[in-house]
């Protein structure tokens, strides 16, 4: 058939993104913008990692450019990228028959399920550095993994209640699949509706892949990266250390104020910059990934550095959860 016909009808990369975003918006999701910091996966955005904590329900979707320095191939490998794009959907709590909803989203992007082989194969997710794990599936479409589907169970080492359902679409893979291409770089990113002129993924992103691969493998300054890591970590730790006093002080203050018949304001708690601390922890994580790509981390060091970053991220999650409880209680 007609893979030519299939190609013509297939969505461009940006149409794919529009369509999925529209689909999830129509199913009650808040559409958020990508997080403006380097992350390795959509899960690390605070819109997932922090929002899944605590009792507040939310449905949210966003595209997240995800950087994995070690996966860069200077733009020479047709299937591996330094930076790929995930479409991340968080459903907290997940609705009944959430898999059917997901399958509808595939239909929306032009996948006729009767013409393909689709399987949900066990694939559990774990992010030890975030004290986070969940169970779920990789969704296989004609032998290609196109989506990661996870029921979050723990985050920051804490049990979640309610849990969240996470759907992570690999946009490049899906576009490659829809457009029936062997190389990511040939994906049609956009098509001018007037002239029909096409921009490919390569046109838009190849130079980034070349330069960032070179930066992370060849140029990044190892001693300075270590220095960055130390600075980010130190500031993050300082912030985290301030929390107990503020939490405790606020509780006492509240008792005093309310004892005197006054009105307590929880602004001290609300304004505590847990998210600032989280960004510093994310910086550490990305710096670690760069050092790793540079081959600067020995196996022995690796465990130690990961434990340091885990300490930051799990610390942030604990404070965020407590902050939520204290503000909810007022």
């Amino acid at each position: 058939m007609s893979s030519a016909v299939a190609k013509k009808k297939a969505l461009t990369f940006q149409e794919l993104l529009f369509t999925l975003q529209r689909f999830w918006a129509e199913h009650g999701c808040v559409l958020q913008q990508p997080y403006d910091l380097e992350v390795g996966a959509g899960t690390m955005s605070p819109d997932t990692f922090l929002r899944v904590l605590g009792p507040k329900p939310i449905n949210i979707a966003y595209a997240q450019p995800s950087r994995r320095p070690a996966d860069g191939r200077y733009g020479e490998n047709p299937n591996r990228l330094f930076r790929h794009t995930q479409l991340q959907v968080i459903l907290k709590p997940p609705p009944e028959r959430v898999q059917e909803l997901y399958l509808e989203s595939l239909v929306a992007i032009g996948i006729d399920l009767t013409q393909h082989d689709i399987k949900f194969e066990e694939d559990n997710w774990e992010w030890p550095v975030g004290g986070a794990w969940g169970v779920g599936w990789q969704v296989m479409l004609d032998g290609q993994e196109i989506t990661q589907f996870t029921y979050f169970q723990q985050c920051g080492g804490m049990d979640l209640d309610p849990i969240s359902g996470e759907i992570t679409y690999g946009l490049e893979r899906i576009a490659q699949f829809l457009q029936d291409l062997d190389s990511i770089y040939d994906i049609v990113w956009s098509r001018d509706p007037v002239t029909g002129a096409e921009m490919t993924y390569g046109d838009v992103r190849l130079h980034e892949e070349q330069q960032f691969s070179a930066y992370s493998f060849d140029y990044a300054d190892v001693p300075k990266l270590w220095e960055h890591l130390k600075l980010y970590e130190a500031e993050c730790l300082e912030l985290l250390a301030k929390w107990p006093d503020i939490a405790e002080g606020s509780v006492k203050y509240r008792q005093t104020v309310e004892g005197a018949g006054g009105t307590y304001s929880n602004s001290q708690i609300l304004r505590f910059p847990t998210m600032g601390a989280y960004e510093l922890a994310l910086k550490c994580s990305h710096t670690f990934n760069l050092l790793d790509a540079r081959g600067a981390i020995s196996v022995t060091e690796r465990v130690g550095v990961m434990a340091r970053i885990r300490n930051l991220i799990v610390g942030v999650a604990k404070i965020y959860a407590e902050q939520g409880r204290l503000t909810a209680a007022s």
């Binding site: 709590p93 898999q99 013409q115 393909h116 399987k119 949900f120 169970v135 849990i163 196996v299």
Partner: protein, 694 residues
């Protein structure tokens, strides 16, 4: 009597867990119904499963438990009645039993006369019992990994429950589990059915109705369909055969509700990559079956099992998708294969210093050093005019063995460790004996594997594993119960198999000692191996447990010899003479134990005048020489038959001689004789361990 159907509808259950859960659900249901006296002793029962459902079908369930009359004993008559009138004790008992005092009976017991009452226990209906008890059984199913999903976390189960069907005959039993109430609505195939629920009419119609909705719920039917389709589709390529792979057939059976098979191809140029790599990509990463040509060589085709019916329209689309994925995977593998070769194994040995084996045992470089040393000790021990191998190749193999852990290919395909090292070694011009030993070092990894093909490979495999075992035991990291995080049992099983199945002239104790354990660790390791040897003889050779005990009691250091002895004992154990001799030896052992007799080798046997005693000694001396000679030649079966020949003399001795003679000298003499016979004939097995039924 009605049939019972239970179906649990689930989001896709991990393939690896389905078979176990299906069996457990059936077992739990049967145990429950038996306990509640709702089924006969030998019920007809079936269980079914797909990725999205578990089901059981039990035939002929009683609709109602029978009423039971129970006799309850009350107070003693002398307390219950005073002066012929009932006391409060009698009245209370009557009230509790729900009968009038006049209806109470008197029964005679060894303790005297007591009051008794017959109580009628009304049987409950099956529906009532099932609704209240079956959910507990469902909840108790063991899952390797489970989850919670409902707010408040009321239960944990493998995946969210979507629906429940429970029918007793045509009637719904509305049992409740995980927030669902059972009805008769089930769901068909995700894509091929309409997606709407449909009603199960009765347990009998279940399978056929599901089939109408494109679900083959019977696992064996699905498995056969897959096998047939694999054969059938393969036939479209002349001379081609699919590589048999039971585990893969099992996996895809549990991944599909309506399986079909599709043939795909890849560019023959990829066949230049090692077959091991290609097959691993196809099998482990894509769940594809490899195809070979008539000569057994890998062909440029693969087979994939789909969860949808294939037709002229969707086949080319699905094929194209799968072929593209495989091409990308093969490209990756080729990239790694070529990239890795830029750093030869010789240079990679140095890199192992940065790869931790275990934090207290150091890096893989340190481990390689130790393994090389152990290889040196073992090699020195076995080398000789009757046993030749390439000593330098062995030592080189020990140095190179772990170098492939630093390659991208092994990082990507960890299951190919060793194999990749062997392949790189060969392509980098390292001599063949070394490359082969590296390649085979992890054999046998499972019961179906062979041991390494060469002496060098066997020695390397022994050295690597005993280093791990002694090292971990030294740190107190031995396996406990079901926990064996370092797979030490598997490592020990492999050592046992290599020693028992190769022709290495090595004893287990020599292998253990070569790893230089401390005396305490050595003792623990020896005890650990005893369990593994026991396991090997029972599971690997199907030996009965008493035979295993008997032969191990006679020594378990030379494992090849141990297996030969076990086989000989099993071969003769049915003979009447042998059983009689075993029984006699058991008697001897008991007599010696009761007398707390210890054989003093300094005491010479002086035959007395009693004929049976003299005869026994004479016969023993005659047979013992023969048994020794036969044992030397490992002719254990004949040796055992020879031992059995002592039966008449032993029988006569026990018939006519009293061991416990009042004269202590004579008694000691007789005990010495018996102890000598026992110890002289216990070199092959301790016969007193043999179970002589009757």
């Amino acid at each position: 009597m009605p049939d019972l159907l239970l179906e649990i509808g689930l989001e896709e259950v991990p393939a690896r867990m389905i078979a176990g859960a299906q069996a457990e659900l059936l077992k739990r249901t049967l145990v429950l119904l038996t306990r509640e006296q709702l089924i006969d002793a030998e019920p007809t029962a079936k269980s079914y499963s797909t990725p999205r459902r578990l089901a059981v079908l039990i035939h002929d369930v009683k609709a109602q438990q029978s009423d039971i009359t129970e006799e309850v004993t009350g107070p003693a008559v002398k307390i219950a009645f005073r002066d012929g009138k009932p006391t409060p004790a009698a009245e209370a008992f009557a009230r509790k039993s729900g009968v009038a005092v006049a209806d109470l009976k008197t029964i005679a017991t060894p303790k005297g006369e007591y009051l008794a009452a017959s109580i009628l226990k009304k049987g409950r209906s099956a529906a009532e019992v099932i609704a209240s008890e079956l959910p507990k059984e469902i909840a108790a199913i063991h899952w390797a990994k489970n989850m919670y999903w409902r707010p408040g976390k009321p239960e944990r189960f493998v995946r969210p429950v979507l629906w429940l069907v429970c029918l007793l005959g045509e009637t719904v039993v509305p049992l409740e589990f995980a927030g669902k109430t059972a009805g008769r609505a089930s769901y068909g195939h995700r894509v091929l059915s309409s997606g709407d629920p449909f009603e199960i009419v009765s347990p009998e119609s279940y399978l056929a109705q599901l089939e109408g909705e494109f679900v083959l719920a019977d696992v064996e039917v699905r498995r056969q369909k897959i096998r047939k389709s694999l054969d059938h589709v393969c036939r479209t390529v002349p001379g081609a055969r699919w590589r048999e792979d039971e585990a893969l057939v099992d996996a895809v059976t549990h991944l599909t509700e309506w399986p079909d098979v599709l043939l795909g191809s890849f560019e023959p140029a990829y066949l230049e990559l090692p077959e091991e790599v290609l097959v691993t990509v196809m099998r482990d990463h894509q769940k594809y079956f490899a195809v070979e040509d008539a000569s057994g060589k890998l062909a440029a085709h693969f087979l994939t099992v789909t969860n949808i019916a294939l037709d002229a329209k969707n086949t080319p689309i699905i094929r194209q998708g799968n072929e593209r994925v495989l091409r990308a995977r093969f490209n990756d593998a080729r990239f790694f294969w070529e990239f890795d070769q830029r750093t030869p194994l010789v240079e990679r040995i140095k890199l192992l210093e940065n790869v931790t084996f275990q934090k207290d045992l150091g890096s893989y470089a340190a481990k390689s050093e130790r393994v090389r040393e152990i290889c040196h000790i073992l090699g020195t021990r076995v080398v000789g005019p009757d046993f030749q191998f390439d000593f330098n190749a062995l030592l080189d193999a020990a140095s190179f063995a772990k170098a492939d852990l630093t390659t991208e290919l092994v990082k990507e395909f960890t299951e190919l460790q060793g194999i990749i090292g062997g392949l790189y070694a060969k392509s980098q011009g390292i001599r063949e004996a070394t490359a082969d030993a590296i390649y085979d070092q992890y054999l046998p990894a499972s019961a179906s594997d062979t041991i390494p093909h060469s002496h060098e490979g066997c020695l390397l495999g022994l050295a690597d594993r005993i280093d791990t075992i002694s090292g971990m035991f030294g740190l107190g990291l031995e396996p406990t119960g079901s926990k064996d995080p370092f797979a030490l049992r598997r490592a020990a099983n492999a050592i046992v198999r290599i020693l028992a199945e190769s022709d290495l002239p090595l004893k287990l104790s020599e292998v253990i000692k070569a790893s230089s354990p401390s005396p305490e660790v050595e003792a623990k390791v020896v005890a650990f191996f005893a369990e593994r040897i026991d396991f090997y003889l029972r599971e690997g050779h199907g030996q009965a447990y008493d035979v295993v005990k008997a032969v191990m009691a006679a020594g378990a250091d030379n494992l090849r010899d141990l297996v030969a002895r076990a086989e000989a004992v099993t071969a003769v154990r049915g003979s009447e003479d042998f059983l009689a001799v075993s029984a006699a030896f058991k008697r001897i052992k008991n007599i010696l134990a009761q007398a707390e007799f210890v054989l003093d080798s300094g005491v010479a046997l002086v035959p007395t005048n009693d004929t049976p005693e003299r005869n026994l000694l004479r016969k023993f001396a005659e047979l013992h020489a023969k048994v020794d000679e036969l044992s030397q030649r490992h002719a254990y079966r004949q040796a055992l038959e020879t031992i059995a020949k002592i039966r008449p003399e032993v029988d006569a001795f026990f018939d006519q001689v009293m061991v416990n003679d009042p004269d202590p000298t004579i008694r000691k003499q007789r005990l010495t004789l018996l102890a000598t016979v026992l110890s002289g004939f216990s070199g092959i097995a301790d016969f007193s361990e043999i179970v002589t039924a009757g």
